[in-house]
Amino acid sequence: MTARTSEPTAETFWTSPRGVRSWLLTHDHKRIGVMYFFSTALMLAIGGAFALVLRAVLVSPDSSLVDASTYNKLFTHHGIIMVFLFMVPAIPSAFGNFLVPLMIGARDVAFPRLNLASYYVYCVGAIVTICALLFGGVDTGWTFYAPYSTTTSTAVTMVACGIFIVGVSSIMTGLNFLVTIHTLRAESITWRRLPLFVWAIYGTAIIQVLATPVLGLSLAVVGIDHVWHLGLFDPQAGGDPVLFQHLFWFYSHPAVYIMVLPAMGAISEIVPAAAHNRPSSYTGIVIATAGIALVGFLTWGHHMFVAGMSTFDAGLFGALSMFVAVFSAIKVFAWLGTMWGGRITIAAPILYVLSFVFLFVFGGMSGVAVATTSLDVHWHDTYFVVAHFHFIMVGGTLTAFLAAIHFWFPKITGRMYSEAWARLAWAAVTGGFILTFTPQFLLGNAGMPRRYFSYPARFQALHVMSTVGAFILGAGMMLAVGYLVVAWIAGRRAGDNPWQSRGFEWRSPSPPPPDNYVAPMRWDTDAYAYDDDDAPTATTGTAA
């Protein structure tokens, strides 16, 4: 079975059934995944455009490009769009939808109609959130700290409402994945053989189902308070503004793991497939995934070391945060071990893995640094923290998102992009990223607080470097969009399994037919069976 490439005439999920209506009302997890992909990518573009405007403003210590309140709205909406409309749904809802059924040998998710509904609920939430811009936008920062958020005159309620709706969509998706993974696994795909990406989605889904309602509630309370002035967090009435921070971070810290666990899952799939090597510790990665999902619920207080919590609590949250970091380290060890001694396909996906590991390890270690209570006192709310979470969210999640795009592009489209252009874009994205955010670590060290429209002139040189980097990063992203679109339309046919991966998702044709499989499937080898793969030229076809 060496070259059973999909014929152009073969039925794929793209073309069967035909018509716009069949797409809009589809129950096919692959089509819903693709629709999620385009929607979240659009959000990434909008959020990215905001980021570039912000960087342009920050070139000068006293910019005349926009005024202070416009700047405040820009960074608020940058954060809201990137966190709630891109990061949280991007990998779980786009790649998770496309891949999870294929990886567990199912024909669809457990509740296809709920899946489609979650997409439209997401769209409604995204539209409400974005439309708030037409009503002047909000200027609270994406964290909505009371009492500023309950007293500002901007459109807080509308944005809170939009995020609440997106949250409902997130819960629906998470619930659907949990039920799917529990009930639709092919008989021989046991828990012990579940692909690592599916484990990551499983952990993510638990957080989505259990943490999102608390966020929804705290934003709903802020939204209601903003309209009716209930004073629930207002000290004048006996309320406590710090209590809002507890509620908010109880979700929003686990939400960090909603954003990063699927990214780790994607890397855990790409590393064995690119290195043609069995993961050096499957169990370790699974345990670490569970550990992050569970202990991640107990670390929210490390956002509040200088907010006025007791010294004892600060110490406790600091210590618990160290445990989460150890779970992340276990995964890094497993990836490094897997790379050694394999047969590595040097191509865009592994290059992104290279960037990911470097940026994620440094970003993660900077997280250990800010969890070290005394150091956090200096760094809290400065650019150091901004750089830290962008290393995780952009250097980690966005890089993994790009790795996933480049790895699964032939799976989804059946075509291959230009490797040369891909490497150029990789260099621009990685280089641009490092140039953008390394100066921000130094700005934080030097004492530059975040969310500053104007700043003391001594910080200017580093800001200019950061802005140059941001535009290089932006150019790299645009380049990637360009060659990927070209490849999607006119790229060469990639074959069913261009990476010669043993992963379950590659055992159906690429792109898959509407029902995922052309023949009954047997899953007698596991997803990482590279032990017998010693002849480098050997190619493996599908198991169909």
Partner: protein, 193 residues
């Protein structure tokens, strides 16, 4: 329906309930924090709530849960007509609960106790927090009662053409959850005086 599919629906309902429980937990946490900070005010404010209404509503919901259990029992036996009757009883009791709740809200509003600063009982610091939480928590719970009634009505309608008791069983689980939330709200707002 395959056993796998039934299993899927069961898991889904329990996950949805877990998610709902976390939704309420945020408000319970706010209540706990403010209660410990303003315990006197919370005692004074709780005395304003009409305890006979709270007690009656508890009885109503407990009875409705019993009716729900009976409806499920007969649906399993295949006696769909009887099951439909008991399910109708659940809906009637739900309406009664909402009527009492609405009556109590109207009494409060007549006395000038509204969410926010109006609920401070003429200067008792922290009392307004109690009433804001009272309106938020009982309001959110009332929305769940309404949703629960709609689900029960839907499942009841299904039994006309479908002898599978699964729908009414799962709706029953949800209804019990709504009931249990009230069993927690009742002492917090009526019995702490």
């Amino acid at each position: 329906m395959t056993p796998q599919r039934r299993h899927a629906f069961r898991v889904a309902v329990w996950l949805a309930i877990a998610s709902e429980a976390l939704l309420f937990s945020g408000l319970f946490m706010l209540y706990a924090s403010y209660r410990s900070e303003h315990s006197t005010a919370f005692h004074l404010a709780a005395a304003e709530d009409v305890s006979w209404i709270g007690g009656t509503n508890t009885m109503i919901l407990l009875t409705s849960s019993f009716a729900m259990a009976v409806a499920i029992h007969f649906a399993r036996l295949g006696r769909r007509g009887v099951a439909r009757g008991w399910a109708a009883g659940v809906i009637v009791l739900g309406c009664a609960f909402l009527a009492f709740k609405g009556y109590e809200w109207s009494l409060h509003l007549r006395d000038g106790i509204a969410p926010g600063a109006a609920g401070d009982l003429e200067g008792v610091r922290g009392a307004s927090l109690f009433f804001t939480l009272y309106y938020l928590m009982t309001g959110l719970h009332a929305l769940h009662v309404i949703a629960g009634m709609l689900f029960v009505a839907w499942a009841r309608h299904r039994t006309r053409r479908d002898d599978d008791p699964l729908a009414i069983e799962l709706v029953g689980v949800y209804w019990h959850f709504v009931d249990v939330v009230w069993v927690f709200l009742w002492p917090l707002f009526y019995l702490v005086t």
